[in-house]
Assembly symmetry: C2
Amino acid sequence: MLSQSVEYALRAVCFLAERAPEPQTTGQIAKVTKVPPAYLSKILQQLGRSGIVRSQRGVNGGMALMKSSEELTILEVVNAVDPMQRIRECPLGLASHGVRLCPLHRRLDDAMAMVEHAFHATTLADILAEPSESIPLCNFPGPKAVKKR
Amino acid sequence: MLSQSVEYALRAVCFLAERAPEPQTTGQIAKVTKVPPAYLSKILQQLGRSGIVRSQRGVNGGMALMKSSEELTILEVVNAVDPMQRIRECPLGLASHGVRLCPLHRRLDDAMAMVEHAFHATTLADILAEPSESIPLCNFPGPKAVKKR
DNA sequence: GGAAAAGTGGATATTGACATCCACTATTGG
DNA sequence: CCAATAGTGGATGTCAATATCCACTTTTCC
């Protein structure tokens, strides 16, 4: 239901949030998040254009978040990469009198609205604040495990 | 967020529910729902294999619902054409210890669960029972408007 | 039985999402 | 300055979703 690109973007942003404010190279992110490096590079560019990450070229450069994890919502990341397409008018183009949708499309759009709201209500901090899971499953090695450089 | 095929399938099923139990030809459905006829044909075949519609060849044949609109949910139609893909295990393949997802994927899957639930809770009858909208927008000409044959 | 109506299945475009590659530019550290 | 590091942009490849076409089968009606 979500595109692969969104999945990749969220993985990358989670990782960056965890390591913030240190920039991480595309290669590092790709390795940890298991995303194809060349493709991840494109996605990070999109996130850059949307002001979610900034890039730093050269030695010791990489990608870093532009916002604190408290301020960055899942929705922002989703919309940067693959914007949620709400149904704003009748897809059949029938008498598009302003806002009203037929019962079918009303319900479909309601479902999307629920998702949009849930994504808007969740910040990266919310996600990082859950290290409670006993099994690390899907968790990247935490900051303590990182060798300093 | 939903595929084009799902959108088409739901339009077709709505129309069939409205006209039930009279079968409607693919051509008729395509015209009213503004779906490419040849493509709609494929989608109706899928709905047939899932037991949602039955087909009748020959003169006065067509497609008809196998269930009453009270018994047919949106979710069934969606799953027949483009099954909801819940996240059942870690997409990174990390230590897929049974059920637990990381916080990120847990939330993504929760969102899908919400949608799935909403779709499961809505029947075609629920949709047809809303002719209250003053402006017909997206509504097919009602049964009364149909010429008998 | 034969003609018309209607669905079926297979072959074939077309398009956009996903993915890769590479030459180029910018930055840093020595 | 220069060599290594790292991101950028453009060209290209691959594949599944979307869409079309057509020969064939089934069914009905006369």
